[in-house]
């Protein structure tokens, strides 16, 4: 009896899959309006981690707040995509740094552009001849190389002080006193900076051997922490 039930369930699932109209690479059914419950981002699935170890009342995040947080991230399919801690794609990494005014075409040894161009292997780029797709989960070498690129990019970003940035033109990362600005850090990390970001960044500068080194370390670590996963 159990076998008959399982067989019929399997047949039903196969039939349902076969009836899908969308391409196989489609994450969602592209129905409007979005059905929250149909997605990985919907309530009741793994994304909806209400029982947080921190935040919310008694360790439980208010469901309303979860919905608001998700809406701040984007549409449900974007929220779903960002559910997994996916590696920042190679092309995306380049685009982000170019947006911040980093010369990604530079061939100067150990410049961000050079490290980026020569770092395709460690960064987990697809190898078509070996039928190896671009790495999805970040490996140690991918993250180490990514952070290496960020460390090199920090020098260029500070040198231009975001003046060459296309992401947030007119924003200064460091003010005339040498202190980081909240807008500048927001531009760097791609989301509103928290007061702690500003405090820690300036504290790092004060602990470093000199201001320039401290600023570079702060920019490199801010970039790295904000872009560990997508």
């Amino acid at each position: 009896m159990k076998r008959i039930l399982l067989t019929s369930l399997g047949a039903t699932l196969v039939a349902l899959v076969g009836c899908q109209q969308d391409a196989s690479d489609s994450l969602t059914s592209h129905q409007e309006p979005w059905s929250q419950s149909s997605l990985a981002a919907g309530a009741g699935n793994t994304w909806n981690h209400q029982a947080q170890s921190v935040g919310g009342q008694n360790g439980i995040t208010d469901p309303t707040q979860v919905v608001l947080d998700d809406q701040a991230i984007g549409t449900p399919d974007v929220v779903a995509r960002l559910h997994g801690a996916q590696k920042l794609q190679y092309a995306t990494l380049g685009a982000i740094l170019a947006d911040l005014g980093v010369d990604m075409t530079s061939t100067t040894p150990d410049s961000a552009g050079d490290l980026y161009a020569t770092g395709q292997g460690p960064l987990g780029v697809a190898v078509y001849s070996s039928r190896v797709p671009e790495m999805i989960i970040p490996s140690t070498s991918a993250l180490a190389k990514e952070y290496d690129v960020f460390a090199a990019a920090a020098t260029e970003i500070l040198k231009s002080n975001l003046a060459t940035s296309t992401r947030c033109p007119g924003t200064q990362l460091v003010d005339s006193t040498g202190a980081f600005t909240s807008d500048g850090i927001s531009c760097l990390i791609g989301k509103p900076a928290k007061p702690d970001h500003l405090t820690l960044a300036n504290q790092l500068v004060s602990q470093a051997p000199d201001t320039a080194t401290g600023q570079q370390l702060a920019v490199a670590t801010l970039l790295a922490a904000a872009h560990t996963s997508e």
Partner: protein, 458 residues
């Protein structure tokens, strides 16, 4: 005082007890040394020694794609072909020495490595897999059930975590398996060193103070991410912390190949670049293994489709001799390094497994043009099993061109085709990596190898 019931535990029960007691010690927050003391008291010194050893072996996988495997048939020749002394056969030498003490027949060519090692540290060669001529990513011998062998091996090795679980040079075959690691891929052997040679470690993070600040503030900024407390990112965030630590270190000088290394590995200015790549990869690899940085190294071998190899016997002989020296030097390095897991009295060689596979071994019967086709479309899986496999040839190609296969249940002559013997051969490899834990082999779709093929380590 040791409990005789615990002291006499063997096989799976012994392994289970060690795993269970290790877990309990971890839960109780017992220091490792204290745990080993207790184990020594209650279950004997041998059990405590076993617990301090890594439960899995490191592994090196040479993939001789595009005919590259054929070169290794000159180091580990078909026994009958090597002894036939037939100048038409694809065997470079006119002498062959029969190895003594191996379970199955094994002969050395003059350039064969490992000739001074004991019988249980010799090569095992399986007639197994399919001829996949001119494939850049040959899967023959590298598939275990529905899983990739190397992916499965990396999952088995996860029991003893390392900084970069798999380092792989392109092109390579990996496959998939539940729990498999993500390979850190590089373009060539110098890329293996570059994995541990960040630009930042030479500039911004060149001082311990700066490296320390970088690591500390990275962790602080990471914790500010709104997603940070969520369990779904915990694993990646752990990886990121290792990565940022790695960024501040520069191990290039410890891993780089020196002139002395080249001399030991038989590399000269005139050595072919594809042979140099093997030497440098293995040399860097053994240093990385010794430092506990990695568990698995995958590299392409030769890749040169050597149809005309026998047209220039001098070059052929030189190349084969150099390949033999490289493998000997690699194993000597492994034997000179202590086991990175800290296992008393053991060396890295006691925790090492090496496989050599490829798309085709080419025919052993004809040296002229060294054709790609093999009798019954067979292929070979060559393994250095670190004492966990019975040694010698399983299957044979005789001087009349008749292929004999082997029985995966009895180890003797069998009726199975080479194609169907791929998984049993791969299972034996996985068994060796799992250091005799047959359940690990079955977990990944393999077949538990019987005692006639594998052995308990001595």
């Amino acid at each position: 005082m040791a409990d005789p019931r615990l002291k006499s535990l063997r096989g799976a029960g012994r392994r289970q007890f060690i795993k269970w007691s290790t877990a309990v010690a971890a839960v109780l927050g017992l220091e490792r040394s204290r745990y080993l003391d207790v184990l020594s008291d209650k279950a004997g010194v041998a059990m405590a020694d076993g617990a301090s050893c890594a439960s899995t072996a490191k592994s090196v996988h040479l993939i001789g794609d595009n005919g590259g495997l054929a070169w290794f048939t000159q180091l580990f020749p078909y026994p009958d072909i090597a002894q036939a002394n037939n100048p038409a056969f694809a065997y470079y030498a006119n002498t062959a020495t029969v190895a003594t003490g191996t379970t199955n027949p094994l002969v050395y060519s003059p350039a064969s490595p490992f000739q001074t090692l004991p019988a249980n540290r010799q090569m095992t060669v399986f007639v197994a897999g399919t001829n996949q001529t001119h494939t850049k990513t040959p899967t023959s011998g590298l598939t275990i059930g529905n899983n990739g062998l190397i992916a499965s091996v990396s999952a088995i090795q996860a029991a003893n975590p390392t900084l970069l679980p798999v380092m792989a040079m392109n092109p390579f075959v990996f496959g998939s398996a539940p729990g498999a690691a993500s390979p850190a891929t590089v373009a060539d052997s110098s890329g293996l060193v570059d994995l541990f040679n960040s630009a930042a470690s030479k500039t911004l993070l060149s001082t311990p103070q700066n490296a320390g600040l970088d690591e500390a503030y990275f962790k602080a900024f990471l914790s500010l991410n709104s997603i940070a407390p969520r369990p779904s990112v915990a694993k990646v965030y752990d990886t990121s912390k290792v990565a940022v630590n790695l960024l501040g270190r520069n191990l290039a000088t410890q891993l780089a190949v020196t002139a002395a290394d080249d001399a030991r590995y038989g590399i000269t200015a005139s050595t072919q670049s594809n042979i140099v790549e093997i030497a440098h990869a293995l040399c860097t690899g053994v240093k990385a293994f010794g430092l506990g940085l990695t568990s698995c190294l995958v590299l392409p071998a030769m890749q040169d489709d050597p149809h005309p190899a026998f047209q220039n016997m001098q070059t052929l002989t030189t190349n084969v001799q150099t390949l033999g020296k490289i493998l000997d030097a690699f194993m000597a390095d492994c034997m000179a390094l202590p086991d990175p897991a800290g296992c008393t009295g053991k060396t890295l060689a006691d925790s090492m497994v090496m496989t050599i596979t490829g798309d085709t071994p080419k025919t052993g019967l004809t040296r002229s043009g060294w054709p790609d086709g093999t009798v019954d479309n067979h292929n070979l899986v060559m393994v250095w099993g670190g004492g966990w496999l019975k040694t010698g040839w399983f299957g044979n190609l005789d001087a009349s061109g008749n292929l004999t296969t082997w029985d995966p249940n009895t180890g003797g002559t069998g009726t199975a085709t080479s194609q169907t013997l791929g998984t049993p051969a791969a299972s034996a490899v996985a068994y060796a990596v799992a250091k005799g834990d047959a359940r690990q082999v079955e977990n990944f779709g393999g077949t538990a190898p019987p005692g006639v093929i594998v052995t308990n380590n001595t």
